[in-house]
Amino acid sequence: MRTALILIATLVFSATATAAGSGPEIREAWIRWLPAGVPMAGYFTVTNTTSQTMNLTGAASEAFGKASLHEAVKRDDGSTRMRPIDLPLTIQPGQTISFEPGGYHLMLMQPRRELRPGDSVRITLRQESGPAATAVFSVRSATGE
């Protein structure tokens, strides 16, 4: 209950905080749609426009039961494995981190509603000590269009 209250407070605060620009600044946010309830990937760039270090601790979305920060790691033998990013993910003042195909991505699981390319989904990024930020992600087709 307390966590829910804190989350709600953070979201309310972040609605104004994003306008004031003190949460993480999220741009070019999109989701690659896939069918049949399989996990989808979310991509974006995130900039720390403040003078304090930001530590991202996680993500959440009303459209998905679970949202987590993952990365694709290439190994010497040419195989790839995906794993959760070691949290917190630190963004230095002025730094931009890119979540893009083949690198960092949001793993979005258990869609709560039917999604289609063309839809919009709100996703929130949380940080350790500071306002969270919510951005609107565009749902694109599987081929990224």
């Binding site: 069918p35 049949a36 399989v38 989808m40 040419g78 195989s79 790839t80 995906m82 195909p101 599987a142």
Partner: protein
């Protein structure tokens, strides 16, 4: 015309026509992606397609086949690779593009049923065919191409990831292994090489 003039003319004519003849034969070209001609076994498999039918490499004869191992619960690498391959093929002229297929072999038969594979590949286009099979058979086929896959530990909800090769294996219309397409290869390099095989 002197004899020397005739020799010069012959030499000039040959130097202009011979390279054309070589290109027309599909002989050594400057491949822009990784050339593995003669280094990997021919395309060979016996798997179940996305309509539940047992298929072998002979069902894909006379097309250029791009073989990729992945799984449907892979939100980043697999869709990114399939999308990239579709982009490569779309750069070909329509006749050549019609001669190319992407064989998406799921190494996660527990979750990737033929029905799921059908929905999945349909999201990317008609040129992609989903295939899967019993795990021992999947082990054989990945081993055949010097690759492997493994299942990660499930989380508390039972979700697990699968480590798999990131490379796309390119087979010509005779089923011979010819090229490897990697995530670092530029789209136009892959298209140029694919055009040479698919035309």
């Amino acid at each position: 015309m002197t004899r020397r003039d005739m020799m010069k003319f012959a030499a000039l004519a040959l130097s202009l026509t011979l390279p054309l003849a070589l290109v027309a034969c599909g002989e050594p070209r400057e491949w822009r992606t990784s050339n593995v001609t003669g280094k990997l076994p021919d395309l060979e498999f016996r798997l179940t397609d996305e309509r539940g039918r047992v298929v072998t490499e002979s069902d894909f004869r006379d097309t250029v086949n791009l073989l990729f191992f992945g799984f449907a619960s892979c939100p980043d690498i697999c869709p990114t690779t399939l999308a990239r391959m579709q982009a490569v093929i779309s750069k070909l002229d329509p006749e050549a593009a019609n001669n190319v297929r992407i064989l998406f072999v799921s190494v996660d038969p527990r979750r990737d049923t033929p029905e799921l594979l059908l929905s999945y590949t349909e999201a990317f286009g008609e040129r992609i065919i989903g295939l899967t099979g019993p795990i021992p058979r999947l082990r054989d086929i990945t081993k055949r191409y010097g690759a492997s896959f493994s299942y990660e530990k499930p989380d508390e909800s039972g979700n697990y990831s699968v480590q798999h090769p990131g490379t796309v294996y390119v087979f010509d219309r005779e089923g011979k292994a010819r090229l490897l397409f990697r995530s670092t290869d530029p789209l136009e390099a892959m298209s140029a090489d694919l055009a040479a095989l698919a035309s």
